[in-house]
Amino acid sequence: MDWFEKLPVNCPSAKAVSPESFYFRLGSIPPDESDFWSHRKRFPYKEFKVDECIAFSLSLFDSLEAVERLKRTIPALRKKTIVELDLRPADGLIQQTGNDSHHFSWWRSKEFNTEKIKIIKS
């Protein structure tokens, strides 16, 4: 796959699968291209005890309720806007990660077009 960012070796893992559904993500108001950059691309030198492969991914949720709950729970995310993404297999690979069963890490391919996003609510 032609990745949007140069990924570490063996990243994503063999457990990652093709997306084929709607997912939700938090972003800026108005949405910005950098909302779809990985943590590592935005902060090249920040190290925070996070697996390096995960640092190159983007967080997604498979449930609108889960992302709304996240906004209510985390003050830093409360003012973010929720965007919906209709991901196809060509858009990259995803894998469930973290303690929340609705949270997925997404490794973005160059195929993904940010114009495809739909703003749900701010």
């Binding site: 005890k49 995960i54 985390i74 003050p75 830093a76 409360r78 973290g98 303690n99 929340d100």
Partner: protein
């Protein structure tokens, strides 16, 4: 008062840790919550028992941060690389209300099947033991599909039976 903190466990993640537990130099527990994008966190010291209550969904996050057990808050910044510095907020200073989680919000549910539990075994072996389609079990382990409580129990029992057979094996 300044404390050096070490991240122990990320409890909520969105692009980076948003809520995590940490320990200080003498093993005391803290819980740290992201309050802005810089990122800046607030932290409170927390007893092991209360941390477990939080993880088990018996207490909400608002209660943890609005009424800290020691009655004080720390401002936490990422100083350099992975170094976290917690600085005690002045006595009598309250945290802004918009730094608190909304009342009644609990930690998100844990994934039913932890993928690491399956690292040392063949998925097909566990699926056969559980009388389940291996493809379906792989989807559960990858988090693509979520098993019901009964299915998760069935898989857990199958995993335990296989593990017990391994424990029972003797060669010398």
């Amino acid at each position: 008062m300044i404390v050096d903190l070490h991240l122990e466990e990320t409890l909520i993640f969105h692009d980076e840790p948003q809520l995590f537990s940490a320990t200080d130099q003498i093993g005391g527990y803290y819980i740290c919550l992201a309050v802005d994008d810089t990122p800046q966190y607030i932290a409170v010291a927390i007893s092991y028992a209360r941390l477990q209550e939080l993880k088990l969904g018996k207490i909400d996050l608002w209660s943890i941060f609005s009424s800290p057990e020691l009655g004080v808050w720390f401002k936490v910044v990422l100083a350099e690389k992975i170094k976290l510095i917690g600085e005690l907020m002045p006595a009598g200073e309250k945290i802004p209300l918009d730094w608190l989680p909304i009342k009644g919000e609990y930690l998100p549910t844990m994934a039913k099947l932890r993928p690491e539990a399956f690292e040392g075994v063949k998925i097909s072996t566990i699926a056969k033991e559980a009388k389940m389609n291996p493809t379906l079990l792989r989807q559960y382990v990858a988090g693509i599909k979520q098993p019901s409580h009964d299915q998760a129990l069935r898989i857990q029992e199958a995993l335990h039976r296989v593990a017990q057979r391994l424990l029972d094996s003797q060669f010398v």
